[in-house]
Amino acid sequence: MNATLGSLPDAAAAKFLTTGVLENSEPLPRAAIDKISETTQREAEPVRQLFDEAMKRHTPAERTSADAWLAPVLHATLRLTRREASDPGLWNYLAIGLAPEYVYWRHMSRGNPPTVSRTRFSGPFYSQAFARLWWAAELFRDGPDYGPVAVACANQDVMNTVLRLEMILHRPTAQAIIRLLATNVIRTGRQVNALAGAVNTAGGTLSYEALAPDAARDGDAYRDWIEELAGELVPYDTLPSGPADGRARPASVDVLSTLFKQLYTEIPAGRETPD
């Protein structure tokens, strides 16, 4: 295997994803994958270790809880700009070339025969096995604080529904939703989906950006953080530190969490007592 990570374009990735591969009954041709991938400067080993560590720390039965551990450390280990993260080639390579074992471990369905959905290997950012974790970390972190990421990733409905909603690209909106989750105003998957629906609908007529202005992110600080990677060991037992590119404005998060709480109590799901 290569010592650096590669980039595997979508079209090439698709060719490797045969039915046999998706059912894990046919091995992926590692050598051919490395040969066709473009090389990058990123070291493969530290990333490879994360996936092994995640499988060591969680039993197969608690595989979904691996998301909350892996998302922050993956984000802090890769240190990508959003521009770089938008390239599916890297994600394809991680899933197909570097760590298919992890994809099987985390995403194998219980069907007959058991199979992994193709989009877990190569697919949109909210489905692909590693892209979804990186983007969850990027979109839910509050500046350097990955705490909200752990909350978001611990709830599969946030990962499956909320992550793909455009409204969370506004940081105070994302933080306000996570706050309602962290303070147990909402708990179950049904409640998460009901809240997301209500907030999204109200967002059609209300400008959250106007009600809750956000400060611009500090791109230079983000760059500095990327460059600091060389001298840092990303911790496994405590949350790592993310880029100090500015937190969502606290007053704005306050305004929106109050508003969302109110929106939530106005819909049927919100009037149920939490179970």
Binding site: E166, L169, T205, S207, A210
Partner: protein
Amino acid sequence: MKRIMPYPVLTGEVTMTIREARLDDVQLPYSVISEQDRTVVPRPLERDDWEVIRLGVQVRAQRYELDAGPWLSLSFLATASERRTNAHSAVKLMMGQPGEWTGEVEIHRDDHVGRVQVSGQLVATVDGVPGRVIATVNRPWTVDLRPGTTAHRESIDTQWANFAEDSRFSWCKTDPWTVTTTDETATLVLNSGFDGLRAVLESPTAADRATREALAAQIAVDLWSTLFNEAVYHVEGHDWPEGWRGQVLRRMLPDIFPDYSPDDALHEIVNGGTGAIQARVLHAAAKQARMPRSLGGFIRSLRKVGPEDE
């Protein structure tokens, strides 16, 4: 058809203009901005070390409507967003004269990679509720950062091919021309094996002018109606398709549904299909084909096409 809102919204248009573009504080020539296509293609982006593009933006709404309406605390938020990089930023513009806002939208290289949509919302307090969206920009802009694109790009290419010898065209080998499309471009392919076609289209003599124009117009009508139907096929939901498909629809829908706003017209073809309106499509295509500027440009583009195996 504007969406029906439970409060009064603006009925007039809100237009956005991009007046200037600066790349790392160096002013770019105005030619990078295409008002017609609402596109900015900041050159030269071959350089990989730029950091930020700043766009000088101006927004106008109809003042008399704003004065007469029940809206308080108006503010305008300009946005830059790109779904591929999940980037979305909003900036408040300054109000100059009533109904006019100006400001600067920033596009950071680290956050973007392809087509960035620049748009915005007019927000006001209505019936005591703050933060209501009362209008959005009618035609958003696109800042295209993809390498190899230029503003004013002729998104319809033309090439010659001998249909009899080219397997791609074996199904239409006796036709004088055909149209092929991809997401990026539409290509008009002219059959060099068709007797006399090239001679007429490339004739330099004034005597052939009438024939040349009639023929070019005929080709153009075919081209526009094919492109229209192809573009409609790619409309998903109520969103305008990207690239040439969006441009074709924006040009032709006003002639197909003259009484509708562009968005309404789009909804109409999404809901009603195009089966029953083919005569109107032909009318709109003919109108496009007859436009002196587009026809002149079209003929010029036919003549400047190089040799076949380019």
